[in-house]
Structures are given as structure tokens and as C-alpha cells.
């Protein structure tokens, strides 16, 4: 449990008894119902959430909350195992699959008294950049229903209404981002393999933190790419992200890829003097297709640091342009391997086909997986064939090392933090997004976030401003390995400078006054 710390808004309200955990929980559940059209949640665990809230309440009454997170409603992406609660990965393969255990990160949150509201929607098995390709349907960006967006949107024809104009959340942790953005929870877990936490964070106007690989346990996170996956944290402000990070980070004996060193939870310092800071602007992140809006925002941000006295220099990460292709090889290879366990035998969907074991396997996998998953399995198996392994997998691993070394060199030359865009543009309308296939979209959208996963570095999306269409734009800070404190410090300073506007969500709700507390952006 975190001791003391700065006064946190909702936590303070809970501690001071101004609001009770059960009340908070009820309000969130009610709001989830009112915002059902967003399709952010796959499973709402109403009963268990209320029980957890009751337990929390008892603790507060005794004056013994477990910490800052006690009683705080949270949501978890549906690729994390949650004991007794369905975990589907938005796939037919795991529909109805009730996890028998909690992922370590889930357990740690529950141990801190957090209230688990439910499981959020995603692209099937986290493969995608729109949160549009899961079996439960696409997630809608809450900003589609914001006054800011509606004011700016020009209906193209009479027949077109806001129903068809809604924009995507980005992905693959779109459900989690939408849940946080629409105030139905105070923090959510996502996962990040190629940008899957940062991308939807940018599109939904929330903070999305990708921690250093090896800092947070992956035990219980259903893997996409074991060597790149990390649990991601989505919150409404940087301070909240630090609180969640503090409760999650640290060695887990169940995950052999976590570092042994002890992690010291920290409060994000309030930086006042940035003159000792060196910000790097990687020129390769001026990627083809980068919208002029984002370019301008990026430039403005760089100026902000410069004017405040920081050293802002252009740097080069020359192998950036190979990261997508490299990722494609390594990701699909791992996918082919990780998905091999889904055969219908021990758990999950099993086809009725029973002529032979092999035909049962084939039918199960054809029925259980969508095209995206099957496509990646086929590609991955191709790259892993004996005759191809050297030319594809080994080559990609070598390129991966070059990409990682780019960062090492730049950070080694005295740069503290890198500043880049997170996405190429603001969120596109769903109807436009689906015109291109998943693979094309992923390749386009991952370009600014993917290399970070290659190198295992920490990175964070900070909501920066609104686009001309009234939608969120975010910028990304990339830090050095295990230097989350420095990364969050800079991110928090920046957050204070840009004062990103609160979403003015227009949602039919039964109890107007109940919305009051949700309006507080943060719990911390």
C-alpha cells in the first residue's frame, strides 16, 4: 500500500467519507449501462464489484483502507485472466471460458482493494489497431458523442446521422481507453505489443502508459508476442498512472522475464525547472501520412520545452522504417506458436467435428479464430519453416537489435526523453476505417509506436489538444529502460502545460447529479 502521498481527489473523497465505495461503484455501473452503445465492456461483473465495494467500505469505516486504490473502480482488458469471470479475448475460441486464476496484475490490484467492474472489449486476441475486429463488435470512441466533436462535424447528407459518423477508439485496447475516457472507471488495464495502449489512449484523450518490458508481470496476460507484450495502464492523468504503476510493478516469480530488482513506487515530482532536460526529436517520426495538425502540435510541444529552457535537439533513429516489417515477421511467428494451444481439447471452443483428432483440431481452429488471427498464424508458420527461418526470423531478430541500438545510441548521447507523435491523425470514422483490412491498418497505425516495443522501452501518450474535428490528439514521450520516474515527471510537466480539455460527454443518464464525482478527472 502506498503511504501518504499527495491529496488525491476521489481517494480523498473516499477517505473523508464524502462518497462511499459502494456509491461510487453503483454510479460507475449505472454509467456503464447508459453508455452501453459504446460497446466498451464485454463483461460487467456487477455482483462481484459490489461485493468488493462493500468490503472496501468496511475498511474505510474502520479507517484502514489498503491504499490509494482501495474502493477505486477499475476495468481490465479482456485478455487478462480474471478468476471466476469470463475471459474471451473477444474471440469465439474463448467465449464462455471462465478463468480459474487471476493474472498477477489483476491480483495485485484486487489486493490493493480496487473494485473490478468488468472486462473491456478489444480486437480479437489483441490483433488490430482499431478495436473493431472482435466477435463482440467494434468499440465506439466516446468522443464521437462529445459536444466538441458534434460541434465540429458537418453532416454530409440528411440520411447521415451521428450513428454512422462515430469514430473508432484505436486499438487494440479500445475498450479500456473508452471506459476510462467515458468516466465509467478511474483506471483500466490494457496491453501494449505494438502500441495497443498508447494508440487508443491518443484517440480517446487519455493517458496511456507502456512500461519497460520486464517491469510488470505478464503472468495471466494471454500473449500476443511474448517478447514484446506488456500490461498497459490507462488513466485520466499522469499521477493516476503512477499510482497504478506503483501497485503493479516488481518481480513476479511466476514470470521469468520480470527483473529481479526491487521496484520502489514513487509519487511523480512536480517539475518546475526543465533547463537540465534534453528532449530528442527523432526525425524519422515525421512519417509519411502524418497529418499537418499533428505535425503542428508536435512542433508546438517542442517549442514549449525550448521556451521553458530545455534543450531540444533533432536526433536520428535510422532503422525506424524497418520496424513494421520486422514486427510483422516476429509477431506472426510468435502468434503461430502461441495460438497452437487452442485445439479445443482442454478448454475453449471445441468443434462438433469428430471424425478424427486432426479434423477436430482443424474445424475448431477455423470456427474459433477470425480471419486476422488465422492470417497471422499462416504467415508465422511460413516464416518459421526450416527453409525460411534464417532469412526471415533470424534476419528480423538482427534488425530488431539494430532498432534497439538506435535508441541506446541516442540516449547514450545525452538525450533524456524523446518526444514524438503517437498517431498519424485523429480518430477516423468507423466506416472509413473498415475500408482497409486489418493488416494494412495495423501497418499504418503502428508506425509511431512499434519500435518502442522492439526495444522494450517505456513510453507514454499524453493527451495534448483537440483536432479540427474536435477529437483528441496525443503526443508520445519515450523514456529510457526502467526510468519510468523520469518519464512520468516530464509527462506530468507537459500535461500541466497543455491543459487538455475534459470531454463534454452527452449521454442520456438517469441521475444527473450522480455524474458529479465522475467529472473529477482523476482518483489521485
Amino acid at each position: 500500500a502506498l503511504k501518504g502521498g499527495s491529496r488525491f481527489q476521489v481517494s480523498a473523497a473516499l477517505t473523508e467519507g464524502r462518497v462511499a465505495p459502494t456509491e461510487l461503484c453503483q454510479r460507475c455501473l449505472s454509467l456503464i449501462k447508459s453508455t452501453k452503445f459504446l460497446n466498451a465492456y464485454i463483461t460487467v461483473a456487477e455482483e462481484t464489484a459490489l461485493k468488493q465495494a462493500e468490503e472496501s467500505e468496511k475498511r474505510y469505516r474502520r479507517g484502514q483502507p489498503l491504499g490509494v486504490l482501495d474502493g477505486i473502480p477499475i476495468a481490465v482488458k479482456d485478455n487478462f485472466n480474471t478468476a471466476g469471470i469470463e475471459t474471451t479475448c473477444a474471440s469465439n475460441m474463448l467465449k464462455g471460458y471462465i478463468s480459474p486464476y487471476n493474472a498477477t496484475v489483476v491480483q495485485r490490484l484486487l489486493d490493493q482493494g480496487a473494485v473490478l467492474l468488468g472486462k473491456t472489449n478489444l480486437d480479437e486476441f489483441a490483433m488490430g489497431s482499431g478495436s473493431t475486429d472482435g466477435v463482440f463488435g467494434p468499440v465506439r470512441n466516446p468522443w464521437s458523442y462529445s459536444r466538441q466533436y458534434k460541434e465540429k462535424s458537418v453532416p454530409k447528407s440528411h440520411s447521415e446521422d451521428e450513428e454512422s459518423n462515430w469514430v473508432i477508439t484505436g486499438g487494440s485496447s479500445g475498450g479500456s481507453a473508452a471506459a476510462v475516457s467515458s468516466f465509467t472507471c478511474f483506471a483500466a488495464l490494457g496491453s501494449d505489443t505494438g502500441g495497443s495502449t498508447r494508440n487508443p489512449a491518443a484517440h480517446c484523450g487519455v493517458v496511456g502508459l507502456k512500461p519497460t518490458y520486464g517491469l510488470i508481470s505478464r503472468h495471466g496476460l494471454i500473449p500476443l508476442v511474448n517478447s514484446m507484450d506488456v500490461p498497459g495502464i490507462l488513466t485520466r492523468c499522469v499521477d493516476d498512472a503512477a499510482v497504478v504503476l506503483g501497485s503493479l510493478a516488481g518481480h513476479d516469480p511466476k514470470d521469468s522475464t520480470t527483473i529481479q530488482d526491487n521496484f520502489k513506487p514513487f509519487e511523480v515530482p512536480n517539475l518546475t525547472d526543465v533547463s537540465k532536460l534534453s528532449i530528442g526529436i527523432p526525425k524519422e517520426y515525421h512519417a509519411p501520412g502524418l497529418s499537418s495538425e499533428i505535425l503542428a502540435l508536435w512542433s508546438k510541444a517542442a517549442d514549449l520545452f525550448k521556451n521553458a529552457g530545455a534543450k531540444v535537439i533533432e536526433v536520428s533513429l535510422p532503422h525506424t522504417r524497418y520496424s513494421i516489417v520486422c514486427y510483422h515477421v516476429l509477431c506472426t511467428a510468435e502468434v503461430a506458436s502461441n495460438m497452437a494451444r487452442f485445439d479445443g481439447l482442454e478448454y475453449g471452443h471445441r468443434s462438433d467435428m469428430n471424425k478424427s483428432t486432426e479434423s477436430m483440431y482443424a474445424a475448431t481452429r477455423r470456427e474459433g479464430f477470425n480471419d486476422v488471427v488465422r492470417g497471422r498464424i499462416l504467415s508465422g508458420n511460413y516464416f518459421l519453416l526450416k527453409q525460411n527461418y534464417e532469412n526471415y526470423f533470424i534476419k528480423a531478430q538482427k534488425v530488431r537489435r539494430l532498432i534497439a541500438n538506435d535508441f541506446v545510441k541516442v540516449f547514450g548521447s545525452g538525450v533524456d526523453i524523446l518526444l514524438t507523435p503517437t498517431t498519424l491523425s485523429d480518430a477516423v470514422p468507423y466506416m472509413e476505417f473498415i475500408k482497409e483490412d486489418n493488416r494494412t491498418r495495423s501497418a499504418q497505425d503502428d508506425i509511431l509506436t512499434q519500435a518502442v516495443n522492439m526495444a522494450g522501452l517505456p513510453a507514454i501518450n499524453v493527451p495534448t489538444g483537440l483536432s479540427e474535428r474536435g477529437l483528441p490528439l496525443g503526443l508520445q514521450f519515450i523514456g529510457q529502460s526502467f526510468q519510468e520516474k523520469q518519464l512520468l515527471t516530464v509527462a506530468k510537466w507537459f500535461e500541466k502545460q497543455v491543459k487538455f480539455p475534459m470531454i463534454q460527454l452527452e449521454v442520456k443518464r438517469h441521475d444527473h447529479s450522480a455524474f458529479q464525482h465522475q467529472k473529477s478527472a482523476s482518483f489521485s
Binding site: 503472468h219 495471466g220 508476442v225 521469468s256 522475464t257 503461430a336 497452437a340 494451444r341 481439447l345 508458420n381
Partner: protein, 463 residues
């Protein structure tokens, strides 16, 4: 026409003797109720991760050192992919790129022409030892067209020991495996009982004409005992020779040994060549082992495996034990082999020697000829022997003190086998088997015999 040169290599899988499995905490136990020893990881539940078992690493290091291998201070884990009902994850975690131990050797002995008196020592190179997961078991119920899967064994640690094709026949293969069994049992790294599936042997067999390239090899599986190994290998060599001599070719295939028919048959399952699509196991960092020199200061003892520490604590290997027996007791080398070949026999022998004045060189005859043959006849182990070392020593003492003849001793032994709790002395008295030491008494007996046979004596004297 020059004779064929048979070439035999072996791939041996030894189950590691440990409390829990290689990458998960579930128990290792033979013959438990089906699916009662299966952790989430063993069942390949999504989101579970492997955690390396320290004891299994130590077992592999011990075995590597005993087989004179170089222990790789850095070894890696890989995934080997194939679909099968008893492989829940769709891949096996093994060590394909860099195994834990390489380049060792194993010495074993054979009797020439089945004569125990002529033993020859041979060596087989050990290519490598790798750590890997065992699979579960699948039972095909053809009557109900279903396959039953038991995952108790899935994930148990295995050491795969690869022996280079330095052997030439079934006898050599059998002797090499027998020696490996003894080594593993001495180390305790595996109980190596073939009948319980703790030691599985696959033989790679080919033949070629001298001076030419090695021939196409077949892999022979489903061998359940050391005896069957010799038979399977010899059969396969013969089959290949006959095939080639009649103008046929050998297919690079996998064959199963049918112990009832005493032959090898092609295995239907393995059709076409499998591409295992090896990939590094991303959830396990490289396995780093230390020795006294490389051990960093202030390391947590629990977190590291120290090769030198293990080396210092290796027990005497069979070859050393045999040499010591020969030296200490003056027995023949072939005797020492038999002593070590039988579980508990060497200990029995030494206990008898301790308790008797009879020279070990004489005791050994009683152990190997009388005791052992009796045990074999009745399919008993040394532990189950109704005659304890104490009793046998007691008996041998009577013989040594010349209180009984050796013929009488054998009669007593026959009685002792009955296990009725009588001491040798009691049996001797009961059956009046005492040797008569008194000269006068002997003369009297002889005289009585002569007196009783007067005619025969006269005839003899007259010639």
C-alpha cells in the same frame, strides 16, 4: 563381397527424478489417477508461463559431469512445434540450439563370445544432453472411436542423451544403455527404470559397405527393455542387409519394435517429414550456470547453480566402484560387473565379507553362483532374498572353519532358502552334516566299512 558395417546411434530420454515438473510446480508421480497431477501450465491454459525447476538443472549438470561432458555455462530453450493430443501447448519446450551439456563419452564393457572371462571395454561418444518436457499419454479406444488423454506426465522433466553412432550391434547398444542406467541410478538424477517409462530408448540404425558413406538410417521406437533393445537393433540391421542385398532401398522412416513378433514395423503415424518450426522460447531467459571462478560476489545462493559445487559432490560412478571392488577384494573385473549389475548385490557381498573370515575371492563364488542364480530362478531381487548377508556369512564361517564340507554347505543353503528362520548351525545339527575331524573316529568308520564289505576287500587285495 565385403561384409556390411552396421552403425547404431541412440537417443535416450531419461525422466528426471524430481518432486515437481520441469516448468511447473505440479507433482511427479508414477501411476497416479489420470489428470490428477496437472497444473494450469501443464494443461496449457492461456496466460500461463514456464518457471524453470532448479533440481532438474542440477540433475542435468550431474549427468553431464558423470558423462564427461562440457557443461555449457549458457544454454537456451526452444519451442518445437507439432500437433498431438498429448501435447497441450502444441509445442514442446526443449533445447535445440544450445543444450546444457555437450561432447562427452561413456565407457561400457562387453563379454566376448558370451564368456564372462573375456571382457572388452568400448566407448561411445555423447553428443549432447538437453533438458526438455515430457508429453502426456494418449490411449486410443478404437472400440468407441475416441482417444483418452492423461496429462499427468505432461511437463515432467526429461534429459535427452544423444549417443553418437559409434555402436555396431544390439549387444553394444544394450551394454551402453545398461551402463547409462547404472550411472543415472547412482547419481539419483533418474531412476531409469525402463518398465516404468523412466528411460526410453530410440535406436538409429543403418548399414553400409566399408569405405562407403553411411547408409540411410531408420529410427526404431517402442523398445521397452534393454533385452528388447538388443533384439530390435539386431533385427533391424538384419532387415536392412537383406533388403539391400535383394536390391531394395532403405527408407528414412520411423519403425516400431513389435516385441511379440520380434521385428520392426513401419509406424503409421509419422507420415512425411515434420517441420518442427523451432523458435526460441521467449518466456525463458538463457540458462546461466556458474563455476567457482565465474560466480559473482554477493549472489543469492538460491538463485544460482554452481557447476563446481555439484562436481565436488558427485558420488562414485559405477566404473570407479567396480575398480575399487577389484582392488579391495581381489575379485575379477567381470565379477565386479555382475555385482553392480544387480541392485544391492555389491552391498550384500561387502556385508558378507565383513562378517566372515572366508577370503573375498572365495565368497564371490557363493554370491555369484549360488545366491544370484537362486534369486534369478525365483525372480527375486537382492532385497527380497530370504537368506540375509548375516546368515550367509554364518554359513561360510562354518565352511571356513572346516566344520562342514562344501557339499554340505550347499545342502544347508538349500534349507536356508526356505526361510524357516533356522540358523546354519541348527540345520547342520539337524541334518547331521558335521565334518568329522577326529582321526580315530574316521579310522573306525573306515574299518567298519571295510569289515562290512569283506568279500570286496579280498577281491581288491588279490587284484
Amino acid at each position: 563381397l565385403a561384409p556390411w558395417v552396421p552403425v547404431v546411434g541412440l537417443e535416450i530420454h531419461a525422466q528426471i527424478s524430481s518432486n515437481s515438473k520441469l516448468f511447473s510446480g505440479s507433482q511427479v508421480q508414477f501411476a497416479a489417477p489420470p489428470n490428477s497431477l496437472v497444473s494450469f501450465f501443464d494443461a496449457s491454459l492461456p496466460g500461463t508461463l514456464p518457471v524453470l525447476n532448479r533440481r532438474c538443472v542440477e540433475a542435468a549438470v550431474m549427468t553431464g559431469l558423470a558423462l564427461k561432458c562440457s557443461i555449457n555455462k549458457k544454454s537456451l530453450f526452444d519451442r518445437k512445434h507439432y500437433f498431438y493430443a498429448d501435447l497441450p501447448a502444441g509445442y514442446q519446450i526443449t533445447q535445440q540450439r544450445v543444450p546444457i551439456a555437450v561432447n562427452g563419452s561413456l565407457s561400457y564393457s562387453l563379454c566376448i563370445d558370451n564368456k564372462m572371462s573375456q571382457m572388452v571395454t568400448k566407448t561411445v561418444r555423447i553428443k549432447q544432453i538437453q533438458l526438455e518436457q515430457d508429453s502426456g499419454k494418449s490411449l486410443h479406444d478404437d472400440a468407441r472411436s475416441q482417444t483418452l488423454v492423461d496429462l499427468n506426465r505432461a511437463g515432467v522433466g526429461l534429459m535427452e542423451v544423444v549417443m553418437e553412432p559409434d555402436m555396431c550391434c544390439g549387444e553394444e547398444a544394450a551394454a551402453a544403455v545398461r551402463e547409462l542406467q547404472l550411472i543415472l541410478q547412482t547419481l539419483g538424477s533418474s531412476q531409469a527404470v525402463m518398465a516404468e517409462g523412466q528411460l526410453r530408448v530410440d535406436a538409429n540404425v543403418s548399414v553400409h559397405r566399408p569405405g562407403e558413406h553411411y547408409g540411410v538410417r531408420t529410427e526404431v521406437k517402442n523398445i521397452n527393455s534393454v533385452r528388447f533393445l538388443a533384439k530390435a537393433v539386431d533385427y533391424e540391421i538384419q532387415r536392412q542387409i537383406e533388403e539391400l542385398e535383394s536390391g531394395g532401398t532403405i527408407l528414412n522412416e520411423t519403425r516400431a519394435f513389435d516385441s511379440k513378433l520380434g521385428c520392426t514395423v513401419p509406424m503409421r503415424d509419422k507420415e512425411g517429414k515434420q517441420d518442427y518450426r523451432f523458435m526460441p522460447e521467449p518466456n525463458l531467459p538463457p540458462l546461466i550456470l556458474y563455476d567457482a571462478k565465474s560466480l559473482p560476489a554477493n549472489t543469492n545462493h538460491q538463485q544460482v547453480v554452481n557447476i563446481d559445487w555439484i562436481h565436488e559432490r558427485l558420488p562414485d560412478l559405477p566404473s570407479v566402484k567396480r575398480a575399487k571392488l577389484v582392488e579391495r577384494y581381489g575379485i575379477l573385473p567381470e565379477h565386479s560387473f555382475t555385482l553392480l549389475n544387480e541392485d544391492g548385490l555389491a552391498e550384500f557381498f561387502e556385508n558378507v565379507v565383513k562378517q566372515t573370515q572366508m577370503k573375498p575371492k572365495k565368497v564371490i563364488g557363493w554370491i555369484l553362483n549360488d545366491l544370484l542364480s537362486y534369486l534369478k530362478q525365483h525372480s527375486l531381487t537382492v532385497k527380497e532374498s530370504p537368506v540375509s548377508s548375516f546368515l550367509l556369512a554364518d554359513l561360510l564361517n562354518l565352511l571356513e572353519k572346516k566344520e562342514i564340507s562344501s557339499t554340505a554347505a550347499k545342502q544347508v543353503l538349500v534349507e536356508l532358502w526356505k526361510g524357516e528362520g533356522k540358523t546354519p548351525l541348527e540345520i547342520v545339527k539337524e541334518k547331521k552334516l558335521e565334518l568329522i575331524q577326529d582321526q580315530k573316529e574316521l579310522e573306525q568308520i573306515c574299518q567298519a566299512v571295510i569289515d562290512g564289505q569283506e568279500n570286496e576287500v579280498i577281491m581288491m587285495v588279490l587284484g
